[in-house]
Subunit: 344 residues, 2 copies
């Protein structure tokens, strides 16, 4: 066990006092980094994900180049459908697609939920290798997609603006939807526990399409599974839940076993604090499009964001993934601004 | 002047007592209707929009076939960029695109803001003709896109998940963004007043991408222009504002000169009422994906929705446009359920 030299993220998740908030960026290891693009031009997506040496190399890039306070393993949320037996294709620039979608009870019965650690050994190997290479510099974050978001892809077969088919499935065959959500939850719990055992210091659950649901449908089809995962995994590693676009659930989720909640920029820090209380650490919520503004402006906005969140119980981050068109020095300015933060 | 036989919509917007809430559906005239698809196969998009007889025919289809309490003119929000001098292409099934986008002060200076009624005479003719054909059966709704949403298309050149370029423009060149927003606002006010003069009983302003902005950026780049339009037009016709995804603005907007606010399904009716008070009529907020459920289930959900909103100061509608895959009898079931509503 190597002692962490920078444990800001873990202390923030434990709600301890910190000199300044920790900072990392969703999708920090990826397509805005020239060194990543070089690897992308050489190896296809799943080769990069499934080769521990490549995944580790990509995971480490933003640590050295941007200076974030945490590494997040380079992987994809759709490794879970793969582990469950579904084919997933990833066409560069076009997003993922699943040639065979889930439609019936028979489809769900055929899904595997066992041996996550065996099927996704390459992720665990990448975590162990990254952990070793990090050598205690910063904590390592593992992750998985939330059950509702994974269901969306499994039923829809590809990205969607409205997630019609996924919703039709859930609204018209709720028993099947719950059976599928439970299967995804079961394997995800095993997977996240295995990630913690392999070296993940923290795990984040991405519910990217949670915001497509009404508050009531979120409570029916998303929240129970997020809580189940959080309850089962939080003994192994602190859990951050990121159900994008669900300001309405903040109050409930703040009382959960999770250590942190990610929020996007469609809620003010003040309102988020008001809803979540100081029960939980909040993470976010910079609009990634703001990273396209001039550097002095970015730094000013970051300062204002931290002023509003406060330095306690807070992890500076974007409100969603960094976009490919962000210049690296702008990403670095975001991180630098957090590091330079001083309260007035 | 023909007396309206069904003036439920107007009475709801005046906050008068009604026997039951009025009901209409966003995109009710369009691609889920077989008779519309027949016309689509014969005439391209802008022919349908620019030929008053066709626009009228399409506008009337859901009145007879689905039984809604209002007609909304068949048109498009991108007629405003066209009237301002930009080319807009519409490829069936692929969404709109603008070959020349706005990038500079010079681009903005070159935009026309005069003679909306001349440039968009075909819309006004369609309104007059529809009004005549309706013969007082139900009120007629005119509409326009909100300035922020129109800016999104003018700067981005096409639809986007993140509206990066539009936001980059607004965040890095706010003076230019405000100049552009003001120009769009100016011509939109003239256009909506002309619509009222041509026969629109109500006008709705669609801010479809308002939800991509943070609460503060909405207050900067969207809200002032929505209010300007509402203040200028509400003397000519009642105004409904629909800034999708901006629950955070409900309280402010409820104090505006608008008669109604459209809301989507990511807020509960109770919460919306709590934020808006009874200052304003609320419109919405059925998840269009729920129209894919079995008819008895749709009817049950509609009943619950009205129970929650209450019958006063309320217009039953979807929370966004109806999707092409909705069976006509399901759309009709939605409307019927509102008409059959009885309080317990």
């Amino acid at each position: 066990m190597i002692d962490l030299k920078n444990d800001l993220l873990l202390r923030a998740l434990r709600k301890e006092k910190v000199e300044r908030p920790p900072v990392w960026m969703m999708r920090q290891a990826g397509r805005y980094l020239p060194d990543y693009i070089k690897l992308r031009n050489k190896y296809d997506f799943f080769t990069r994900v499934q080769t521990p040496e490549l995944a580790t190399q990509i995971t480490l890039q933003p640590i050295d180049q941007v200076g974030v306070d945490a590494a997040i393993i380079f992987s994809d949320i759709l490794v879970i459908p793969q582990a469950m037996g579904l084919e997933v294709l990833m066409e560069e620039g076009k997003g993922p697609s699943l040639p065979k979608v889930i439609q019936s009870e028979k489809d769900i019965d055929a899904l595997n939920t066992a041996d996550a650690a065996h099927h996704l050994k390459y992720v665990l190997d990448a975590l162990s290798l990254t952990k070793k290479e990090l050598n205690g510099r910063v904590p390592l974050i593992g992750f998985a997609g939330a059950p509702w978001t994974i269901l969306c892809y499994m039923v829809e077969g590809k990205g969607s603006k409205t997630w019609d088919k996924a919703k039709q499935f859930a609204y018209t065959q709720p028993e099947l939807a719950h059976a599928l959500l439970q299967k995804i939850t079961t394997i995800t719990i095993d997977y996240l526990k295995a990630q913690a055992a392999a070296g993940a210091d923290v795990v984040q659950v991405f519910d990217s399409w949670a915001g497509s649901l009404s508050p009531q449908d979120f409570k029916t089809f998303a929240q129970p599974y997020l809580l189940q995962i959080s309850d089962a995994v939080s003994g192994s590693a602190p859990v951050i839940l990121f159900p994008k676009g669900t300001w309405h659930a903040l109050e409930d989720l703040s009382k959960s076993s999770a250590s942190g909640i990610g929020i996007d920029w469609t809620i003010t820090p003040q309102k988020a604090r008001e809803l979540a209380g100081n029960n939980i650490t909040l993470q976010g919520n910079f609009d990634p499009a703001k990273l396209l503004a001039p550097i002095p402006q970015i730094k000013q906005w970051v300062k204002e964001m931290i002023d509003e969140f406060g330095t306690r119980n807070y992890i500076a981050n974007l409100g969603h993934g960094i976009t490919p068109n962000v210049p690296v020095d702008h990403a670095k300015a975001f991180v630098d601004a957090v590091k330079e933060y001083r309260q007035n």
